[in-house]
């Protein structure tokens, strides 16, 4: 599949990708084509050449409305997404358009808002909320539609520690429900902790695609794409740990095992 906004200038160049149930991070520098790709998956844009199939449906052959039953997209900037006067109305908009009756739509919305921790803000005007809460409202709006595929564009922007933990829980629980969570994200430590698969886009092409551990073992290729490995991975590498470490827990365990090993060796000498 290729895509160009202007004829002759391909933003995405002959991509071939398959997405399965694995939670997947989409990384790459600004301008790599990440947001363009998710807009194509959502049917907001159509491929210039090639095709995209969502659950067997060719995105060229259906309307965005028809596709929205399957794919939910949370915009990077919640201000581009939010337009209602109350948080509840905002989150009910999706379910109502999927033809749920008012009662069921309200129930879906309230559940989604509980999940993001905003159950006490139903009647608030979303525009009065701070950026981090607006982002959570925009996530709730998509959760309420209960799609099989959820695409999050930079979910952790403006989130503090608690907000990030909450988003982590949401991603984990969606994964447990068997949904595909595809996330564009710049926070490499968050990628390492939360995603099974990582796809690296660079200048409109797939540079790397594999398990997150495998992807983060290619330090040089990542650097070419102007990306870094997670902080903890860098620390482990500086200390000469041979394997690719992805989380603080892995690091601590490796260090502990290693010092035990050294002690046993010392006793044998």
């Amino acid at each position: 599949m290729s895509f160009a906004y202007e004829a002759g200038r391909d933003i995405l160049k002959q991509l071939s990708l398959e997405f399965d149930h694995r939670s997947t991070a989409l990384i790459g520098q600004n301008g790599a084509g990440k947001t363009t790709l998710v807009k194509l998956l959502k049917g907001l844009l159509r491929p210039s050449t090639g095709d995209i199939f969502i659950r067997g449906i060719n995105t060229k052959e259906v309307t965005v409305a028809q596709l929205s039953r399957h794919v939910g997209l949370v915009f990077q900037n919640p201000n581009d997404q939010i337009f209602k006067r109350t948080v509840l109305d905002e989150v009910m908009f999706g379910p109502l358009n999927l033809k749920q009756d008012r009662h069921a739509a309200r129930e879906s919305a309230v559940l989604a808002l509980q999940r993001v921790g905003l159950a006490d803000k139903l009647e608030a005007n979303p525009h009065d909320l701070g950026l981090s809460e607006k982002k959570l409202v925009s996530i709730a709006s998509i959760l309420a539609m209960n799609t099989d595929i959820l695409i999050l564009d930079e979910p952790t922007i403006a989130q503090d520690f608690a907000g990030k933990e909450r988003i982590k829980e949401i991603i984990q629980s969606l994964k447990a429900e068997g949904k595909l969570v595809l996330t564009i994200i710049h926070d490499m430590d968050f990628v390492a902790e939360n995603f099974e698969r990582t796809v690296v886009l660079n200048q409109g092409r797939v540079l790397l695609d594999g398990s997150t551990r495998e992807v983060f073992s290619h330090k040089e290729l990542l650097r070419q794409a102007c990306l870094d490995t997670p902080y903890i991975t860098q620390l482990a590498e500086r200390l000469g740990i041979p394997q690719t470490i992805l989380t603080a827990r892995e690091f601590i365990e490796w260090q502990q095992k290693n010092s035990e090993r050294r002690e046993t060796n010392a006793q044998h000498m």
């Binding site: 403006a158 503090d160 520690f161 608690a162 907000g163 990306l227 903890i232 620390l235 502990q256």
Partner: protein, 281 residues
């Protein structure tokens, strides 16, 4: 010399009951790089706004105590006087760009035109700001054709050109990719090396630890701690204030690897490497 003196600062937004800033007192030396940390709603942005006078001149409400920037009492001064001492860079560069200028060069000239700076000096200052932020190659570009990192550097350049003694940055990199945010952090660091006082609210603790001389920890509008990064991040009660220490501090704490000769844990990659190697030996 003290560039910033805050005494018993209290502030309440209009129509609210709770204090957004509560009895804050602290002092900043000229040329220091200060990181402000705390969870959302801790008062970070409000404090930034109090330092540049948006609180209380734009946001009214209850105000008490004093903020003095470079000898000027913010609460009693005109905004244009304050803007010559302190500049602010917002979280999102899109909200800062005027939208009425066709090139990066003209965009940076905007603040200077409004201050009535003579033309020859204006050109000098713009060139210096462009150079400092490594934006010279982009000076004839349209502001909205820049990448996020470039746009944020342009926003910083437009503030620097006004030659403030103090620059306040409210989460300047939250919208940027890793390379863009690294560019911005480096640019801020070079300003700090030139002697500018830097105040930066930021959620990325690894970056705060790497760049800040001191860390100001806020919680519910109160100042909890104001000290060297490794000291603040070694506290046992950080989760009570809704923040997590840099991952380096976290692992060193778990492995009991302290900074040599100090009771604190490392907060940066370099320090963590040293402490962990020492522990091994």
């Amino acid at each position: 010399m003290k560039t910033i003196v805050v005494e018993q600062l209290k502030y309440r937004y209009p129509l609210t009951q709770t204090l957004a800033l509560n009895e804050l007192s602290f002092e900043v030396e000229e040329g220091e790089f200060i990181g402000i940390v705390g969870k959302n709603l801790a008062g970070k942005s409000t404090l930034c706004q109090a330092l540049i006078g948006l609180v209380p001149h734009f946001y009214h409400g209850g105000y008490g105590g004093r903020v003095i920037v470079d000898g000027l009492e913010v609460g009693k001064s005109q905004v244009d006087e304050i803007s010559k001492k302190v500049g602010i860079v917002f979280q999102n560069p899109f909200t800062q760009v005027t939208g009425s200028k066709l090139t990066v060069y003209e965009e940076i000239a905007f603040g200077l035109e409004n201050l009535g700076v003579p033309r020859a000096e204006m050109i000098d200052r713009i060139d210096h700001a462009l150079d400092l932020l490594q934006m010279l190659p982009f000076k004839d570009r349209a502001p909205f054709d820049l990448s996020g990192g470039q746009m944020q550097r342009m926003a910083i350049a437009s503030i620097i050109a006004m030659r403030p003694k103090i620059i306040v940055l409210d989460e300047p990199t939250s919208q940027l990719d890793p390379q863009g945010s690294e560019e911005v952090f480096r640019a801020i660091q070079s300003l700090s090396r030139e002697g500018m006082t830097v105040i930066m609210a930021e959620h990325k603790m690894e970056k705060v630890a790497q760049y800040a001389d001191r860390v100001l920890l806020l919680h519910e509008g109160r100042l909890i701690d104001f000290d060297r990064p490794e000291k603040v991040f070694s506290r046992d009660d950080l989760d009570q204030y809704g923040i997590a220490a840099p991952v380096y501090t976290e692992v060193c704490k778990a492995l009991d690897a302290k900074i040599a000769g100090e009771p604190y844990y490392p907060a940066t990659l370099d320090e963590a490497c040293k402490a962990l190697v020492m522990r091994r030996e």
